[in-house]
Symmetry: C2
Subunit: 111 residues, 2 copies
Amino acid sequence: MDEQKEPLPRAEAEEYASWFKALADATRIQIVSLLARRREPMSVGEIVAVSGVGQSTVSHHLKILSEVRFVLVERQGTSSLYRINESCVSCFPTAADVVMGNPVPTAPVRD
Amino acid sequence: MDEQKEPLPRAEAEEYASWFKALADATRIQIVSLLARRREPMSVGEIVAVSGVGQSTVSHHLKILSEVRFVLVERQGTSSLYRINESCVSCFPTAADVVMGNPVPTAPVRD
DNA sequence: ATCGTCAATCGACGATATTCGATGAACGGG
DNA sequence: CCCGTTCATCGAATATCGTCGATTGACGAT
């Protein structure tokens, strides 16, 4: 019979974990919710000004967030404008996805 | 006007992060999905047998998962039986919650 | 009471992550 | 062409995390 004794394959578990890792830090949560409050894209400098952490730290977190395509970047002259990727927000896995064994969502590749 | 310039308060960001931290590890993802596949509660020994990591490691992860009430424990004689907390699965925050500034869900205190 | 089983805790170790300050590279303006 | 601004990257310090083996404690059976 289809007795599900095996654990979730490690590879899938890692993929799931990498999603949740992206939001598993308070500073990144702040950045994400900040970008969401402002409807328009924000430059790194603006984010630094209100987030209370150093510029290199903000840049680092933005890199992590953009690697999972949670935020999108658009370079404009000398500054980089970051904004939320709406389609990535909606495909973000839920705890129910994990529990029900749904396939791991893949971040949309388009920018 | 209500110009939302302030970042999300650090305390709330930390609460959000602690939720996502709970699922930010591949082994915990495996344990959670394992408990979900089996409908009935599982003992630590059973989980160890199929998860491929040591007993103390499993115990450690189960502790983390039960601290956010994602799993519930029921001690039975010499063994501990763990099971998924369904109501915690459904209240688990989504990325949309973060982005929309919803209040941080609190894990149900009942066991 | 003693032994064996089961699970939680402890201590330690290596691996990752977070943060910072400093440096560097790209760009626009005078 | 030089300078200031803006951001990414580097290197290092620190903190946190995941894992293990060993120990401890609780319980049941003999």
